[in-house]
């Protein structure tokens, strides 16, 4: 964002930048940076904390009142701890099919479809509660996504599924489908359970997904299958853009 700020200032637009990685602001030296010590992905703080979010936004806007340019970094005053796990949160569906043998494509497909069906009521609850429906980059229905993603455990499909964009490769469709699959599971967990509204921490959500679901087991198997292959598209998508670095490290992949 710092470079964008540089270009915009040259064109006459005043900019203020929220910075999540202080060293980048120090290197590029944009006019005004507010460094916030938050988790990557949370530039204004935690979700559903409008007071904190407004405080951060106002602090960023207030930097425009200063005249000690041409470049400075302000540290946002925050001493909160890393988010704590939510006590009493339980996995959203105890019968997730993590023990599925994903070397059996049909079994893997059935397992992911079962999980998707089990999570659907929770996903719908999460959408109703949050007003957010984060699935949809692939253009596919979730049941299609379950089938399409697991198909790559074998030979890649030659043609895109119905509803997919016709102007992109099967590897790119796979990336968007994997994004949608992950978003569906994670957003479902944010609703807690059907009877309790306990939102887990982001670490609880992601650890649950990557360690206790058949869907993640399929994605991990796809990475292992394609990351060293000659198929450039699948090598890139599965090797680099599917599993978070923290999970690769944590799972010893």
């Amino acid at each position: 964002m710092s470079a964008l700020g540089h270009f915009l200032e040259e064109e006459g637009i005043a900019t203020t930048i929220i910075s999540l990685i202080r060293v980048h602001s120090e290197k590029v030296r944009p006019p005004r940076s507010l460094f916030v010590p938050f988790e990557l992905g949370r530039p204004l703080g935690a979700p559903n904390d409008p007071a904190m979010q407004k405080q951060v936004l106002k602090a960023a806007l207030d930097l425009l009142d200063r005249d000690d340019g041409p470049s400075f970094i302000e540290d946002f005053d925050y001493d909160g701890a890393y988010q704590e796990p939510t006590e009493d949160w339980q996995n959203p569906a105890a019968d997730m099919a993590v023990d599925t043998d994903v070397s059996d494509m049909a079994a893997a497909r059935a397992a992911v479809r079962t999980e998707v069906a089990a999570l659907r009521p929770l996903y719908d609850k999460a959408v109703a509660q949050s007003g957010r429906d984060p699935v949809g980059t692939s253009g596919l229905a979730m049941e299609q996504i379950a089938d399409y993603v697991t198909a790559f455990l074998g030979e890649p499909p030659e043609s895109p599924p119905d509803g997919a964009r016709a102007d992109i490769s099967v590897a790119m469709i796979l990336r968007y489908a994997a994004d949608d699959l992950t978003a569906f599971y994670l957003h479902a967990t944010s609703a807690g359970s059907l009877t309790r509204d306990l939102t887990p921490s982001s670490v609880q959500q992601t650890d649950w997904f990557w360690q206790q679901t058949a869907a993640a087991k399929v994605l991990i198997a796809l990475r292992a299958k394609w990351m060293d292959s000659d198929n450039t598209g699948l090598k890139t998508v599965c090797g680099r853009f599917m599993i978070p670095h923290m999970q690769i490290h944590g799972l010893g992949l």
Binding site: M1, S2, A3, L4, H6, F7, L8, E9, E10, G12, I13, A14, T15, T16, I17, I18, L20, I21, H24, V28, R29, P31, P37, E39, L40, G41, P43, L44, A46, P47, N48, P50, K54, L57, K58, A60, D62, L64, D65, G69, P70, S71, Y82, Q83, G131, R132, P134, R165, I168, M172, A183, L186, S190, S202, T206, F241, M242, P244, M246, H249
Partner: protein, 153 residues
């Protein structure tokens, strides 16, 4: 909720060592008073309307998100999976605070909210975004926008 410290040492080093552009000049626009500013938000989160073309690797373009967009329709196609997405999934204002800007305009803290807001995808080389950013600046000036809040993810 401390950034970087909760990442592996390897990933912290990758981020810290990332090559950053080095500019010869340090442009500085003197802003108008806060209560007179017309403000837009520019995100690098790779977000857009569900019906827009998703971001792909190396994409240097931007997507437009109108002020009156429905939060329910905003999805993310950022190529990186190495940041928390649950905040975005639950609450768009945690990364793209349009509702808060509207509140600030309503109570007179800022002058007004821009007609549109924008998202790039931060994983792409920012230097290669230069033409797109300069073209965007002309759009902003056409909408009488004088201030941009730039928000990473």
């Amino acid at each position: 909720m401390v950034s970087m410290n909760n990442l592996t040492e390897h990933y912290q080093k990758l981020l810290g060592d990332l090559e950053c552009p080095n500019f010869d000049s340090e442009p500085w626009v003197k802003p108008v008073p806060l209560s007179e500013r017309r403000v837009t938000v520019i995100s690098s989160a790779g977000i857009h309307d569900r019906d827009e073309v998703p971001f792909k690797g190396g994409d240097v373009g931007y997507r437009t998100i109108p002020s009156n967009a429905n939060a329910k329709d905003i999805v993310m196609s950022h190529v990186s999976v190495n940041f928390d997405r649950t905040a975005f999934q639950q609450d768009l204002n945690a990364i793209f605070p349009i509702d808060h800007l509207k509140d600030m305009a309503a109570d007179g803290t800022i002058g007004s909210v821009a007609t549109d807001h924008y998202s790039f995808m931060g994983a792409s080389d920012p230097v290669k975004m230069e033409d797109e950013v300069r073209e965007l600046a002309k759009r902003l000036l056409g909408d009488k926008v004088d201030t941009a809040v730039l928000i990473p993810v």
